[in-house]
Amino acid sequence: MNRARYAEVLRRLAANDVEFIVVGMMAGVLRGAPLLTADLDLVHRRSADNVSRLLQVLAGLDAIYRHDPRRLRPRESHLMSPGHQLLATTHGDLDCLGTVGEGQTYEDLLDRAPQLNLGEGMSVRVIDLPTLIELKEKAGRPKDLAALPVLRATLSETLKRL
């Protein structure tokens, strides 16, 4: 497994004008939850132009399917689909999700993913905590349920500061 370089992956995506929303545990961390994650999950806009830009970034990161011994590379048809592309890159694991939850797309999530400034002029869309909690509740896997108390407490503490 290559060492994760989260900021560099996000910087490359942003620099190439890829439209995406950070979801998953990384979104929780960026919103203030003290969680640990080993990968970066994002939902991308599934338009031909955006997928083309995303593919360019993925090629630069030498992305391959991480659970496939044939070292297959993601293609346009994969990224245009609503499925989950679980990739290994030179900068760590990266999951490009066509949809999340009950088929929610980039466009569906846009209003619930305000931009966060990650420094050096980089702003990325990150799913908000109520939506992340909703997604984790619906996913219902043990690892999602385990993170819920921390996410809920983080939301509660965040609301106290408003």
Binding site: R3, A4, A7, V29, L36, N117, P149, A153, E157
Partner: protein, 62 residues
Amino acid sequence: MTDVFADPDPVPCEPDIDENGVDLAQIREMLDLTPADRLLVIQNLADSIADIRALNESRPVR
């Protein structure tokens, strides 16, 4: 502030833990950081885990 010399057996403060066992102090520390700093925190944690994995891989099997 409690004068520890006047009170030789002071009672430690209660930890700031919610009913689910979540450490609220840790959350407040994260919320005090900027999103860029939070990214740095998770990066440092990931680096530490990678370092530990690398050390374990280099250990001879007995």
